[in-house]
C-alpha cells in the first residue's frame, strides 16, 4: 500500500487547494478498494508490480491532478493563430534581417573581422539573443493581455468595417503612381533632361563621368524604362491585371535582368577625375564606386530574378488558369481587355 500513498501524495501536490484533501482521500480509498477487489478475485495479496500496473492505468499523477483544474491558458485557441502570425512577422521582418546583416558584415568586412578576433566575433549574437527574447516576450505579454480582454475585444466589431474581398488581380493605384513618378524621373535623367550630380556633374572638386561603353546600354535601358512607365500609366486608369499586360510586365522585368547581367560583365562603369588640378584621375575612389555599383547591379539582378520575375510568372499562371467569376467581372468593369 506504500505505493498507493506515494502515488496519492504526488497527485495531491498539484490538486486545487480547496478540494485537495478531499480528492486525495477519495482517490486513496477507491484505489484501495480496487486492490482489495483484485486480491479477493486472485486469492492472494497484490505485489508491487501488480499495484504498479493499476497505478499506470490510472495515469501519471500530473495528468490525473490536471483533470481537476479548470482550463487555463496564456493565449487561447482564438487568439493563438494571430499570435503565431505576429511572431513569424517579427522573426522575418526584424530578427532575421538583423542576423543576416551581421553575417553579411562579418563575411564582407575585413575591418570588422580584424576588430573582432576569435570568440569576440560572436559577441553581437548575445545582443541578438536578447532581442529575440525581448521580442518574443513583449509579443507574448501583449497577447496575454489581449486574451484577458478578449470578450470586450470581440464584442466591439462592425461587419461593415471588414476589409473588401481581396482581388489578386487588382493593382494598387498607389504603386502605379509611384512607378510613374520614379520611372519618369529616371527616363528624364537618363536622356539628360534632368541633371543629377552623378550623371555628368561636379561633386566638390571631383568630376564623375560614365565610361565610354555605357552608351551601348542607352537605348535598351531607355526602351525598358519607357515601356514600364507606359504600363504603369495604363494600370493607373485600369487597375487590374490582364494577360497582355502581365506578359509585357514579365518581358520588361526579364529585360531588366538581362541588362543588369550584361552591365555586370561590362564594368568599370564610371571614372572619377579631380578638377583641381584638372585631369588627375582618382583611381582609388573610382574603384570603390565601381565596386559599389557592381554589388548594386548584382543585387538588382538577383532580386529581380528571384522575386519580381517569379511573381510575374505566378501572376500569369493565375490569369491563365483562373475561372472568370461574377465578382472579378464586376471589380474590373466588364469588357475591359488591355
Amino acid at each position: 500500500m506504500d505505493l498507493i500513498d506515494r502515488y496519492v501524495q504526488r497527485v495531491r501536490f498539484f490538486l486545487p487547494k480547496p478540494q485537495r484533501d478531499d480528492i486525495a482521500r477519495e482517490l486513496a480509498a477507491d484505489l484501495r478498494a480496487e486492490v482489495q477487489d483484485q486480491e479477493a478475485a486472485l486469492g492472494h495479496p497484490l505485489g508491487a508490480g501488480e499495484i504498479s500496473g493499476i497505478l499506470k492505468r490510472w495515469g501519471h499523477p500530473i495528468l490525473v491532478s490536471g483533470r481537476y483544474q479548470t482550463e487555463r491558458y496564456l493565449i487561447g485557441p482564438a487568439l493563438f493563430p494571430v499570435y503565431w502570425f505576429v511572431l513569424k512577422l517579427v522573426t522575418l521582418c526584424y530578427l532575421l534581417p538583423w542576423l543576416l546583416v551581421w553575417i553579411g558584415i562579418m563575411i564582407l568586412s575585413p575591418d570588422y573581422r580584424a576588430a573582432h578576433q576569435g570568440i569576440a566575433v560572436l559577441q553581437p549574437l548575445g545582443t541578438w539573443w536578447s532581442l529575440v527574447m525581448g521580442a518574443i516576450g513583449i509579443t507574448t505579454l501583449v497577447f496575454a493581455v489581449l486574451e484577458r480582454s478578449q470578450a470586450r475585444l470581440f464584442e466591439r466589431w462592425d461587419p461593415q468595417g471588414l476589409p473588401a474581398v481581396a482581388n489578386k488581380n487588382a493593382i494598387s493605384r498607389f504603386s502605379s503612381v509611384v512607378e510613374v513618378v520614379v520611372g519618369s524621373l529616371f527616363v528624364l535623367w537618363w536622356t539628360g533632361y534632368l541633371q543629377f550630380p552623378v550623371r555628368t556633374g561636379h561633386e566638390g572638386d571631383l568630376e564623375v563621368t560614365f565610361t565610354a561603353w555605357f552608351a551601348a546600354f542607352f537605348w535598351p535601358v531607355l526602351a525598358q524604362s519607357a515601356v514600364n512607365v507606359l504600363l504603369s500609366c495604363t494600370s493607373l486608369f485600369r487597375p487590374w491585371w490582364t494577360i497582355p499586360r502581365a506578359l509585357v510586365r514579365l518581358g520588361t522585368n526579364v529585360a531588366a535582368v538581362v541588362i543588369a547581367a550584361l552591365m555586370l560583365r561590362a564594368g568599370p562603369w564610371i571614372e572619377i577625375r579631380h578638377l583641381n588640378p584638372p585631369g588627375a584621375a582618382s583611381d582609388g575612389l573610382a574603384r570603390l564606386a565601381n565596386s559599389g555599383i557592381y554589388w548594386l547591379f548584382l543585387g538588382i539582378g538577383v532580386v529581380s530574378f528571384l522575386v519580381v520575375v517569379f511573381e510575374d510568372v505566378r501572376r500569369l499562371h493565375r490569369l491563365f488558369t483562373e475561372q472568370p467569376s461574377a465578382e472579378s467581372g464586376r471589380a474590373r468593369g466588364d469588357g475591359a481587355a488591355a
Partner: protein, 109 residues
C-alpha cells in the same frame, strides 16, 4: 493513421454520452470504483482520470450529491443522482433519443 482517426472520432462521440451514462448509473448510489466497474461492464469504459473529475464537476453543478460513509470497514465517497440530476437525465435522454431518430431519418433518406 486510420485507427488513430477512428479512435479520436470515437472519443469525441463518446464524450457527450459519458455524462449520460454516469447520470444513468448513479440512479443507484455508488462510489467511484464500483461506478467505473458498472460502466465498463455495460460497455462504457472510462479512465479514472476522466471519471473522478467528472463526478466532481457534476456535483458542483448540482446534478449529483455525495457523502462519505463506511463500507467494509473503509470510508468511501458515495455518489447519487440529485433531484436536479434526475430532471436533467430525463431531458438529456429525450435529447439523446431525438438525435438517434434524426440520424435514422438522415440515414434512411
Amino acid at each position: 493513421m486510420e485507427v488513430t482517426l477512428f479512435d479520436n472520432l470515437r472519443l469525441e462521440l463518446r464524450r457527450g454520452s459519458l455524462v449520460l451514462g454516469v447520470l444513468a448509473a448513479l440512479r443507484k448510489e455508488r462510489y467511484g470504483y464500483t461506478l467505473r466497474k458498472t460502466l465498463t461492464e455495460h460497455g462504457l469504459e472510462v479512465d479514472e482520470s476522466t471519471l473522478y473529475p467528472l463526478l466532481r464537476r457534476l456535483e458542483t453543478q448540482g446534478l449529483l450529491s455525495s457523502e462519505w460513509r463506511e463500507e467494509d470497514r473503509r470510508n468511501k465517497r458515495f455518489y447519487r443522482l440529485s433531484k436536479d440530476g434526475k430532471a436533467m437525465l430525463s431531458r438529456l435522454l429525450d435529447e439523446w433519443r431525438a438525435i438517434g431518430l434524426s440520424l435514422d431519418n438522415i440515414l434512411g433518406a
